[in-house]
Structures are given as structure tokens and as C-alpha cells.
Subunit: 238 residues, 2 copies
């Protein structure tokens, strides 16, 4: 069947590679699952655990070593979960906003980081890397299935929809430093992409904030920046 094949971004379906993201898919989005595929070398305890979820949610499953080896470049991949792509909408709480993210690993790491610090809404401004690419899902370790995300064509479009949000744009030359900002909620934490950061236009959107660092590097890695900010707010809220 056409849906059980190597991913391309036009496909209606995508898949998890590996045990951890597949279990997260089973826990968080069972209704989207098309089929769970296991490898014959999967250990019995994990198979038992997975079978529990499979039965509970009446999910189709099969053992198919050949299909797994077709999809995964890693030899130790023992499980794949095919699912139909879905398009959740954001709620009115706090958001992370990524402007034109390009790297699937960073995007995945950021979704996991969001979940770690109780942020569950992600806005993505196009053009952007495909959130459903297997690489993104793998880097998220399945955290992607536990958050909501929504794509927008521009910051303007995003701002029109969420006009009561307080915007904080993180930029190398932001007007305040993270520790001096008096955050107001609901907030939108806006981050630029890996190569060009945010344009100066973004300063007009609301508050611009910088994360202090030495002059020995030009900028921080995108997922590190996001992690620092989300952790800071999480601890503040405790």
C-alpha cells in the first residue's frame, strides 16, 4: 500500500522510527495511527508493553522486518509507527514561535524541550522545515505528539490571530536581557532561524530580548536559546 513507504513531505502519512517515539505516538495520538510495525528482534518486554497499547486502542499491527529495514538507516530500529498527519490548532496559552526554522534536529529538540518546561503550543512561521519529517520526530523523541502546533504564512498573520499575546522577540541585540524582562502573560516567545536570526522588523512586534553570552561566538544555537529561555520561565513560575 502506498501509505507504508519511505517518507516524502507530500505524503499524507509519516512514521516514527524506534521504540521511544512509537510509544509516545501510541500514548498521545492513537487515533492518528495507521499501523504499528515491529521487528522480529524486538525484545519481549517491550513487545508486551506495546501490545497493551495496541489492544487498548484497537490499532492495526504487524511484524515486518523487511519494511523496517527499508525505512530506517539505523540497524537497531525495532519499531515503526505509521500515522496520518494531523493539524491541531493552538490554544490561548503561552506560545513558542519559530520563524522559518530550517533544521529538523533543532525543531525536534525544541518540541521536547517545550514539553519539559510545560509549553505545549508551537507556532511555526513558513517557510519552515517539515515538522512531520521522521528526523524531526526522532529528535523530539515523540514529544511532538504531546504538543499542539500550527503553521502561519507570516508573523503578521500570527499576530492577527493572537492579538492579545505579549510578544518577546529573542535577538542578539535585544533591548533587555532575559533576566530583566518582566514577562506578561499570555506570552509568545519568538525565535529566528539557525542562520539569520530575527530581522530588525521583529523589534517592532513587541519586546526584544537578548540572552547574555560572551563575544567569542556570534550567536547561540537555536535549541540552546530556546532551552535557556523556557527553563528560566519554568523556574520563575515555581
Amino acid at each position: 500500500m502506498k501509505k507504508y513507504r519511505r517518507y516524502n513531505k507530500k505524503s499524507e502519512y509519516s512514521y516514527t522510527l524506534g521504540i521511544i517515539p512509537t510509544i509516545e505516538l501510541l500514548k498521545a495520538k492513537p487515533e492518528a495511527i495507521a499501523k504499528i510495525v515491529t521487528h522480529s528482534k524486538l525484545n519481549k518486554d517491550t513487545l508486551k508493553l506495546v501490545n497493551g497499547y495496541i489492544k487498548k486502542h484497537h490499532v492495526t499491527a504487524e511484524c515486518n522486518d523487511q519494511l523496517i529495514s527499508k525505512l530506517s538507516t539505523k540497524e537497531n530500529c525495532c519499531m515503526v509507527g505509521f500515522f496520518k498527519k494531523y493539524y491541531p490548532a493552538l490554544g490561548g496559552g503561552n506560545h513558542v514561535v519559530l520563524v522559518n526554522p530550517r533544521n529538523p534536529g533543532n525543531l525536534g529538540t525544541i518540541t521536547r524541550c517545550m514539553l519539559a518546561f510545560d509549553f505545549t503550543d508551537l507556532a511555526i512561521i513558513r517557510p519552515a522545515v517539515d515538522i512531520f519529517a521522521p528526523k524531526t520526530i526522532r529528535a523530539s523523541m515523540g514529544a511532538l505528539f504531546a504538543i499542539s502546533f500550527q503553521l502561519f504564512n507570516s508573523m503578521t498573520e500570527y499576530k492577527e490571530v493572537f492579538n492579545n499575546h505579549n510578544l518577546y522577540a529573542f535577538m542578539a541585540d535585544g533591548q533587555s536581557t532575559l533576566e530583566k524582562v518582566n514577562f506578561e502573560y499570555p506570552c509568545s516567545l519568538v525565535f529566528g532561524n539557525e542562520s539569520s536570526g530575527l530581522s530588525n522588523e521583529c523589534k517592532k512586534l513587541g519586546n526584544s530580548v537578548q540572552i547574555l553570552h560572551s563575544m567569542r561566538v556570534d550567536s547561540l544555537n537555536l535549541s540552546i536559546s530556546t532551552g535557556i529561555v523556557l527553563h528560566y520561565l519554568y523556574v520563575q513560575g515555581k
Copy 2:
């Protein structure tokens, strides 16, 4: 010549892929350079900049498109810097200690993060991913060349050498939280690897510290954890 070939970890030489890490190599470790290789499509301004460094440090250089395409999987790679691997030793200042790191991307990101927050000494406990692998260098964006690092066979060996350092082991069930620790210097910030974290043995080494996060993820990504801690200490020191 044998040294100008695809990397394997037994080789005496390694190389940078891309403009940014090659420029960092030229700036920080010109004495280690064997040859700079440029691609004919490299833009003139960058070539001029690079030629400045090449002349200043009397480095060998050549234009060789074929060699670059042999080494790089990315089409837009325009520069490669071959260098002889070198083995710096750590100073007596603050250290980051990575126990058995496995992922070259994480290791590279961490070295860049260290430089961003003025940490310049990295201890690595074997077994560990190869710090000179081109993937590590690329993820570090060349920051690797600006820090010192040293390999140790065990935490015990490390501790014997740096017996006046105050150890802080970051673990999910650490006794204090980051914000409550009264750090004493020189310090060693010890992080476990991507899959298993630090063993309980590490609690005996000194102080154990946790980074607060929600229960929705098992653990934080290694480079995110390191980033959060280094940023926290950097801001504290300001």
C-alpha cells in the same frame, strides 16, 4: 597523499567542512594546519579574507573541487581545512566534564556553548565519541579550536588529577536544584551521556544537582542541560 583523504578515527589528521569552521581553525590553530582546500565556486570576498589568514600564517593552500566533493556530502561546501590532530591539556580553571558522550552533534554543540559562556576547558571520560570527527567539528562551528580538552579513562583518573576541583554532578534525582546550589570554584560540572545519564556512583563524587523540569519528559537533552547550566553560571558571574 594519505593525509588528504576521508576521515577515519585512526587517522593522524582531520578536517573542517565549510567556511565558518575553517576560518575558526585558521584563527585559533594555524600551527596545526596541513592544508586549506578551496572550491572554485567560493565567493571572492571570502577567498580574500581566507587568503589573508593563509599568508599571515604561511599555510599551504590549493583549489581542488574534486577533493572537496569527495569529502563533503553537502553540495554547498566550499572550503576544507586539513589539520593534524593535537592534544591540549586542561588548565586549573572551571571544567565541563562529559562522561561517555556518544553523539558528535551534541559534543560539537556543547563546545560552542562553552565558548559562548566563557568555559574553555572540557574533560571527556572514555569511552567517548571522537572529538575530531568532522561531524563534531561542524556542529561546533569551529568553537572546538578555541577550547582545551583532555581525555581520561575514568572519573577516578580525572579526580586524581584535579583533586582541588569542586564537583557538581548533574542528574535527574540530584540532591539540590541548580538555583539552590552555592557554587564554589574552581568547579567541575559533570554531565552523563545521552542515553543513560550519570550512574548513582557519581553522587559520591561531590554535589549532585538537578535541573528542574516537568515530569512529561524523562530527561533533558544533553546539550540543552549543559547550555542551561553554563548560561546560569555566566549570568551569576555578571
